[in-house]
Symmetry: C2
Subunit: 491 residues, 2 copies
């Protein structure tokens, strides 16, 4: 007699469950930031909680991050205030709304903007320490243990026209890159101290649902054995995105596959597929984050990016990921950052990002020839830029005056940022449509009883590649993970 | 006692069906080209067939089209051969594969390329008449009753490098624009002669499915009354795309909403939603067709398109829809077509497309100033183009030599093609993942028993906006509609 094969694309019906091996109130799938926060809030709300993790340890893709959270509003965090910034809630709200793109989720943005500061305090209450320090230069993430950075496009056009700029990237006090591991270790400590029943090396292979559609639990698999977990109050899907699932990527976000360095651990889309199996509606599945860490040092921002046709395509003072997003929308795989002698520097992530020198010359004509660009293609772009930069203007792309100077001091350099050469990082932003409470919605925007999602399994605050800012994903995952855990526990 | 409310996003279970009001073998939803062809093949395969149409008449969005079908291969249609073209199946195959973009469906492309010619013959057997004539000039669709036209990017880079060019747009013998109505009237005549049970003014409000997932029929609604249709062999969803559903557009294809003239009748996404309600997997939901009919006359192709920054962005000898697709990917809503006195002409669709003169001048400097573009932005683009065009080259975008000449004969003109001013047409290309047989697939690519889809409810041959060519949608809808109808009838 063969046991039925369960699948993440088809729910197991309650009537088919042979036995309940385990019972809990709230089952959380995935031990990244969203899952940890959901589990902590659920257990503290008095629920029995099981936390299911496919790998052998905590962290998920959150642990691969820099640990930055995008926080502010309510007058500012201590770090913002010490650095001289008052961060009004409405400025945070407007920035996040723009960052969410043409289908920004105003309800989530509202809730987050109003409660970002208190969420930051909650994270500290979990043991996270943040130094009261600010790095005013534009960087990707601190090589030091400093906290506050400019981690988005706040000072750049068009964002600067809608919201008063303020730095909002908060990195925990951890020396060097990789604060995400530190952040996850603190959350994992809190989980370990709690009554949460953590099950590693266990995959959620199917949802268990009633005929009515109500989600009742999970089919789990460990060591090839299926078991049946009843979750009387609900299941919270926090299983990441789908950047590691080649088939889903081809079907939904082929453009994003041009980026050659997917950032992910499991991220095979199983959270999204589980949600869809009971009618959850996945939205913005084409959207993703992409970047090439081309600055620091910030003086490189005074250079100009060109595409394979020698054309500029963005104000280079945007967030590095916004620049990369626009690059990926260009035809052709070749990109260069043009610099003159006065601003030339090795990119600090150069070796890591595989950014190398593509050409040098005593004139831009020489650089153009060396790059094998059509006669005049690069030179006319530089001349046009220089003409206006000399007046402190960039009428075409509106780079701010502080980054503008003509590129006239030879020798000249083109840094090679080709897509097939440099390291372009990516992860997905599309996912299940949810309410701010984490309730998963069907295509009619009706909640599916007993089902919640957060983190990159959901379509959250960050849902538009061109609006992403560092720290948005961790902020969204931890904040809305908490919401979902609390809601599931108390419904 | 309130009757349950049925929904296109949640299936009605067989156990919930209060009575079977009607019984058939195959139920087809939607009386456009896909639905008509599915119903005809099903009834001719010996099945009882019900054809459900939400409106009061036949036609769907197919009837709004020009009636072109993209056909060829097998040495060529009579029209192709008479015009001197041998169309090899492999050239059609390679062109369609490129046109399908990064996730082209090779199985569908193979089947269609091999059988395109015989499908064209089948359409004629339904009463469609095609004149044996060819219009060699580049047009959008004939103002006359002529047949064969260049309806894609066959002669343009990069397509020309992969497949030998051949015109493949076949328009029925119908005087003037709007051959789609003529085409649908012929198919509707065949339906009327058949035993197909056509039910107008009737909406498919929910699928009826067994516990196992197998689709068994439809809940129908007419005049506010629900009825229950049992379809013992299957349901074929041919209900169009979702361009008329603002919420789905925002959630999946907000970029496409920049186009202000959606082409659709019902097209509210209900076919896709019905499929998703039983686990069907919708893919490439961000993709769509978009166009601005900016030529004929074809001499306009010798002009150059610029964006709001004064930059070129495409080889202008591509299909008009590919040019428009690339325009929509540019930042900013302003676009102009630059012409000099020698090639200036009024666009033949100008009044319809609301293309007007944006600026004129005795020099390009004057035009640039009149358009309020930054100094040098337009002029440097024209100078660079002219420099290479004088040598018969376009090293930046690879427009073919026959369209290249320097724009030096004043006075000069900029035609205004702004998105908020001109008429940009669009429809969606994303939909349910299907096998070439029309079987709807779940996210694991397993068929859902009893469920089929074709036309824009499915993700078919055309699935990448930048690869669309006129006639692809009708060809795909009619060909794969037939496949689905036959399969459903004989399973």
């Amino acid at each position: 007699m063969s046991e039925p094969v369960y699948s993440r694309t088809r729910p197991c019906r309650v009537a088919e469950v042979p036995r309940w091996d385990l019972e809990t109130d709230v089952a959380v799938v995935g031990f990244g930031a969203a899952g940890a926060c959901a589990a902590l809030e659920a257990v503290r709300s008095g629920a029995r909680v099981a936390l299911i993790e496919a790998t052998s340890g905590s962290g998920g893709t959150s642990a691969l991050s820099g640990g930055e959270m995008y926080v502010g509003g309510s007058g500012g965090t201590p770090q913002q205030r010490a650095a001289g910034f008052q961060d009004h809630t409405e400025d945070l709200y407007r920035y996040l709304l723009m960052a969410g793109g043409p289908d920004a989720d105003a309800a989530k943005v509202r809730l987050y903007a109003d409660n970002s500061l208190s969420h930051f305090e909650w994270m500290q209450a979990q043991g996270l320490v943040y130094k009261n320090s600010f790095i005013p230069q534009r960087i990707v993430e601190p090589f030091t243990d400093d906290c506050l950075i400019w981690s988005g496009s706040e000072e750049a056009w068009p964002f600067v026209e809608q919201a008063k700029p303020c730095p909002r990237g908060h990195t925990p006090q951890w020396m060097g890159l990789g604060g995400g591991r530190y952040l996850m270790d603190r959350l994992a400590e809190r989980v370990a101290e709690s009554a949460i029943d953590v099950r590693y090396d266990t995959r959620a292979v199917a949802l268990i649902a009633e005929e009515s559609g109500r989600v009742q639990g999970l089919v789990l698999r460990r060591d090839g054995q299926d078991s049946f977990l009843r979750a009387s109050r609900g299941v919270v899907l926090c299983a990441g995105g789908f950047v590691m699932n080649q088939e889903l990527m081809r079907q939904h976000a082929p453009q994003l596959m041009r980026a050659n360095m997917p950032i992910g651990t499991v991220d095979d889309g199983s959270g999204i597929l589980l949600g869809q199996s009971v009618g959850g509606h996945a939205i913005h599945m084409d959207q993703g984050f992409v970047t090439l860490p081309w600055y620091p040092p910030e003086q490189l921002i005074k250079g100009i990016f060109i595409n394979a046709r020698g054309q500029r395509f963005i104000n280079e003072d945007c967030y590095h990921g916004r620049v990369a997003q626009h690059a990926l929308q260009q035809a052709g795989d070749r990109f260069w950052l043009l610099l003159d002698h006065e601003i030339f520097a090795e990119p600090e992530f150069g070796q890591f990002a595989k950014i190398t020198i593509g050409a040098t010359g005593d004139s831009w004509q020489e650089v153009e020839r060396e790059l094998d660009l059509p006669e005049g293609a690069l030179v006319s772009t530089v001349e046009l830029y220089n003409r206006h930069a000399a007046r402190g203007q960039d009428p075409l792309f509106r780079k701010a005056a502080k980054w503008l100077r003509p590129l006239t001091q030879g020798p000249f350099v083109a840094l090679d940022c080709r897509i097939d050469h440099a390291a372009w990082f990516s992860f997905t932003l599309g996912g299940l449509d949810t309410l701010p409470t984490g309730e998963v919605l069907d295509a009619s925007r009706r909640p599916i009883a007993g089902l919640y999602a957060a983190g990159r399994t959901a379509c959250g605050l960050p849902r538009w590649g061109a609006g992403y800012s560092s720290g948005m994903s961790l902020a969204d995952a931890s904040f809305f993970g908490r919401e979902a855990g609390r809601r599931a526990a108390t419904v």
